[in-house]
């Protein structure tokens, strides 16, 4: 029922390396606590090894799913519908001054 896929680089069990975890943390803007990196690496590896069984599925004749009910995205007229409510929205902002969000310096 299944045929093997032509994805050689994934044919074996996935083993993440330390630099992979660092790279993922960078991409996801997520600081990884140095003391937790090995436990995290083990858990992520076990999850990836588990999902790796997908590689055995024969999907050569299948189009990827775009919508569960096979429908197209509904469109709406290109008109402004939202009023400016920045004061209301900024009530949830941790640091605001004179209507501006405060962040560390971004330019030297």
């Amino acid at each position: 029922m299944y045929s093997s896929c032509d994805l050689d680089h994934l044919s074996g069990p996935v083993a993440l390396k330390l630099e992979d975890i660092e790279k993922l943390g960078e991409l996801a803007r997520l600081r990884i606590e140095p003391g937790e990196v090995y436990d995290l690496m083990a858990k992520l590896t076990s999850i990836l090894a588990f999902v790796d069984q997908l590689q055995a599925a024969d999907t050569s004749e299948v189009t990827p799913m775009a919508h569960p009910l096979d429908r197209a995205q509904r469109l709406r007229p290109d008109v402004v519908t939202e009023p400016d409510q920045h004061e209301l929205y900024q009530q949830n902002a941790p640091r605001v001054e004179r209507g501006l969000y405060l962040v560390p310096k971004v330019l030297e």
């Binding site: 990836l48 790796d52 189009t63």
Partner: protein, 485 residues
């Protein structure tokens, strides 16, 4: 009074044998008495609830007979509520107060339902045990050393213990049906797009379904009629008329064809659980149904497919939490904005959420996208085809909701994959977007177990009718946990 169904409470309110304020006070007192044990609520909105109840009583006095009017319910803390904090079970949103109501919240409020508070849940709905919440684990009223299921575990525990008449939930991989099964309730996940996602905090947008946790199918129909239907603010909302589920409940039984997938009765299924499910299917057969075995050969792909698609969508949806416009902000000194983002997100997100963001980032990254994400979306199509093929032959698919009854708190927290496998029977319906529900069908070791019914797209009203007819013949759904009487 507290174990009345939502329909019974509505009838009592209509007959003026109790007022909404009286009913609301009964539930608030029960929450005060029992919730320190269960931890099912994150926020209790006592004053707002009493004010809503007083307004409902005025409407009742004027002769308004909206079916949900004055009935106390709770919302999963994933639904945005204007003026009341919405945390999604996360430190990231600990102080977040939404500027607007979710469509579900708005519609139930318009129907006159009283909101007792916001229920606890796995952080960002990522979990099957309600243990990953920043606000601590929820306990199962049937055995407080066990989990209530998740991620809608607070809603499940609150309804099961009689702390509210019904509650909203969300189901991305089983998060309504699995806790319903583990807590002895009726849990409905309608067709994808039937319930608006507007104001429902996004986890995996192509899989997120709003729904209900109630004692009975009749109660689920009442809530669904009030909250479902087209919403132009949700781009994937189904723009079609929504037939009344309540109206269909009492209509005459028509013979149905039930398919029982052999793949649902695998080695992982508890034998006692299997016996309960077979007995329940036999009971429905007696109502007038033919039962035949079917095969869903791709169903085994559903959990691995889900754990690619859902984290991928989550990593994208959760990118918005930067701790600058809203959300948790670190107190640590940060030299630049990038470090601030990284600190805010590290401190704001719990371990399971972080793992899913990282897995999602991995499967979407250059070089891996085709092998993981694209392959998973193809596998998802294979699973959807299995359902379509089955529904060409049968009207309903029946099987267990979960492999086992409730497991112990802490039992699976260190093994993500073991936790994920708890949703092995529920995930398929989310991937295919078809409606499904879980109803109580027995007990194993004094813990409730669930029968799952799955139907073709848009058939939720029919599933509720079948469940309602089953519940007229059985009393599993009327059992209540002794410790909370």
């Amino acid at each position: 009074m507290h174990y009345r169904t939502l329909a019974q409470s509505a009838a009592a309110l209509k007959a003026r044998s109790v007022s909404s304020v009286e009913l609301t006070k009964i539930y608030l007192e029960r929450i005060a008495r029992f919730d320190s044990t269960l931890n099912s609520f994150i926020t209790v909105t006592r004053d707002e609830a009493l004010a809503q109840a007083a307004r409902a009583d005025e409407r009742i006095a004027r002769g308004d007979d909206d079916p949900m009017l004055g009935v106390p319910i709770a919302h999963k803390d994933i639904f945005c509520t204007a003026g009341i904090r919405t945390t999604c079970g996360s430190r990231m949103l600990d102080g977040f107060v939404s500027p607007y109501d979710a469509t579900v919240v708005e519609r139930l409020a318009r129907a006159g339902a009283v909101v007792l508070g916001k229920t606890n849940m796995d952080e960002f709905a990522m979990g099957s045990s309600s243990e990953t919440s920043y606000y601590g684990p929820v306990r199962n009223p049937w055995d407080t050393s066990k989990v209530p299921g998740g991620s809608s575990g607070g809603s499940a525990a609150a309804v099961a213990a009689g702390l509210c008449a019904g509650a909203t939930g969300t189901d991305t991989g089983g998060s309504i049906r699995q806790p319903a099964a583990l807590s002895g309730l009726t849990g409905l996940k309608p067709t994808y797009g039937r319930v608006s996602r507007y104001g429902m905090i996004a986890f995996a947008s192509s899989l997120d379904h709003g729904g209900t946790l109630t004692r009975t199918a009749e109660d689920a129909a009442l809530m669904l009629d009030a909250m479902a239907g087209f919403d132009e603010r949700d781009s994937t909302s189904i723009d079609e008329p929504m037939p009344s589920s309540v109206a269909l409940l009492e209509t005459e039984w028509e013979s149905i064809r039930i398919g029982v997938p052999e793949e649902f009765f695998d080695d992982g299924l508890d034998p006692g659980y299997a016996a309960c499910v077979h007995a329940a299917i036999g009971e429905i057969e007696k109502l007038g149904a033919t039962v035949k075995p079917i095969s869903m050969p791709n169903l085994h792909l559903s959990v691995p497919t889900y754990y690619v698609v859902a984290p991928a969508e989550a990593s994208s949806n959760l990118a918005r939490y930067d701790g600058i416009r809203f959300g948790h902000r670190s107190e640590a000194p940060c030299s630049d904005i990038r470090e601030l983002y990284e600190r805010n997100r590290e401190e704001g997100f719990g371990a399971e959420v972080q793992r899913r963001i990282l897995i999602g980032t991995y499967v979407l990254s250059a070089g891996y996208y085709d092998a993981y994400y694209l392959q998973a979306q193809k596998a998802r199509q294979l699973i959807a085809r299995d359902f379509a093929r089955a529904f060409a032959e049968v009207d309903v698919i029946a099987g267990p909701t979960t492999p086992t009854p409730a497991f112990g708190i802490g039992q699976k927290t260190d093994d993500p994959v073991a936790m994920y496998l708890n949703d092995i029977y529920t995930i398929g319906a989310d991937l295919a977007g078809v409606p499904a529900l879980s109803i109580p069908c027995g007990f194993v070791d004094a813990l409730p177990v669930g029968l799952q019914l799955v139907g073709p797209h848009l058939s939720e009203a029919r599933l509720l009718k079948i469940a309602h007819h089953y519940q007229r013949e059985t009393d599993w759904h009327l059992q209540t946990p002794e410790a909370f009487d």
